[in-house]
Symmetry: C2
Subunit: 316 residues, 2 copies
């Protein structure tokens, strides 16, 4: 018989919380809110993430607590917003083999239920919405900080209430979080409205090289382009490519050191692009997915475009 969430969390004294690799606003905001609440219940929390927290999220107080510590005398592991164990990252790829209970809190429909207890609700717009309900069940009053953590998860995972996972309910939750002092403007200003001029120069270069191939719009982001524009990241330009009227799918090919190409994909409702990502060992949502492939751009681009074309054809 599976244990209940309460049976696992109540006796725990030292909790090890894991955010997913390539962390976003939902995994970081939800983890911070949950740790804050567990702290109020007298538990010590360790915050872990295989990758550094992006500077875009540095406006959230407490992000400096994330690190890559070892699991030591902890008595519970909680994974937050991890669609699958692959999202644990290298530092934590073996934690599921430890003899510790694992609580898997997530909202991805593809979640394989890898926890001892699985709090997985694909009806939730963000894992933050699940944490909001959990804290409400626990009778924990939200302060401004917790509200900001949770609203960050919601705003970032719904791209500011614009994606198809935006429900009347999540707008109500957001309204309540604003009532506790969280600000959608601040979160948007910090997360979306904060690009370096170098990033926009990189966008200019990427848009110049953009190609429309049938119903696929795509572009590349090479190491050299990033160096020349003095930009670390293209900061979600794939979302912009996903707005092109002529296209059903958008792909960005991002060159990394060590002959690896990261692909980020977006698609219109009705086209499940996550199947392309899964095919290449990645994952995601139907309208937003990604993967990391070995090879160079010349090798990777035709393979990915070909597979994407197949998915578009089968969606007809």
């Amino acid at each position: 018989m599976t244990r209940s969430l309460q049976q696992v969390i109540d006796p725990a004294k030292k909790v090890f919380l894991i955010a997913h690799v390539d962390p976003d606003g939902d995994t970081i905001g939800s983890t911070l809110a949950l740790a804050h609440a567990l702290g109020k219940r007298g538990k010590k929390c360790t915050l872990a993430c295989s990758d550094p927290v992006p500077s875009l999220l540095s406006f959230l107080p407490g992000v400096e607590k994330f690190g890559v510590p070892q699991v030591t005398d902890h008595d519970l592991i909680i994974t937050v917003d991890l669609s699958d164990p692959g999202r644990l990252g290298r530092a934590y790829e073996h934690v599921l083999e430890l003899s510790l209970p694992v609580v898997n809190i997530d909202h991805h429909i593809t979640n394989p239920m890898f926890g001892t207890v699985n709090l997985v609700r694909s009806d939730a717009a963000a894992t933050a919405e699940i944490i909001f309900d959990l804290l409400s069940d626990w009778g924990i009053a939200l302060d401004q900080l917790m509200a900001t953590y949770l609203l960050t998860g919601i705003v970032t995972d719904t791209r500011s209430f614009s994606t198809s996972n935006t429900t009347p309910r999540v707008l109500e939750v957001a309204s309540e979080l604003m009532g506790k002092g969280a600000s959608v403007t601040e979160i948007n200003e910090s997360y979306y409205r904060s690009k370096g001029a170098g990033t926009l120069r990189l966008w200019g270069r990427m848009l110049d090289r953009m190609e429309l191939d049938g119903r696929i719009i795509w572009s590349v982001n090479t190491l050299e382009m990033r160096r020349e524009c003095r930009a670390d990241s293209d900061n979600g330009i794939v979302n912009l490519l996903g707005t092109v009227r002529e296209a059903l799918a958008a792909v960005v090919f991002r060159e990394h050191e060590g002959h690896r190409i990261e692909i980020s994909m977006r698609s219109r409702p009705g086209v499940d692009i996550s199947s392309v990502a899964v095919h290449f060992g990645g994952g995601g949502h139907p309208q937003a997915a990604g993967a990391m492939l070995d090879g160079n751009l010349e090798q990777v681009i035709p393979r990915v475009l070909s597979r994407t074309r197949e998915v578009l054809d089968s969606a007809d």
Copy 2:
């Protein structure tokens, strides 16, 4: 003694509704919703706008009813979302001189109260929020169509719940409108997520020519660039420039036929860019404003940048 809204609207049989020049989602959505409601109350409505409704809004059923008709045997004029009489446009610049009552419904703080009755509430995120309350006062049940009209106004005027006019209250209203069948995804897909590939090519060119001048980021959109990219419009790239971390203000200079330059401006909270627009004969909100200037790019750019610099300096 001023007359009440009810005293003016109740006896009216033929209502002439005017949306503002360069129409946006709020003026069009709010006018359509109000006309729909007045129709339910047995009134005949004429929908007017000096400019054509942009194709971005053609997903709204009923936009084809907008035209540039004359005021004839109407007994009431209602202006919807007009911050000042200048927004009536050439076709209607004299309607305030007619001996007809005028209802001025708007949410701009700068509104000079030019109506016989002024329903101006600057606490409202959008004029659509005012119409929502009005219809609720009138006891008119919202159907899916009216909910879509109003949610379009809210989504477009808050840039999908991201600007500082987004209140807990407007999120609640939006939640209620979604409950009536309106879809934030559809509105966002239709309004924001619908750019031609040519538009993005134009963005690439504009980002290549982008300049960071102190704390002002700016770029140009020439007739030749639009022709070469086969793009009619730069579709709000000024919003993107407004995200640049190094800048407090963003300006786009858009060249038009007849030696006219349109400027679109954005600024960070704390910098009131509308004063620059007003100086050059335009207007707007503190964080989003615009104007039309006579001259060529070489003449207009230094004048506008110089004035913007003064505003930034005085905001320090």
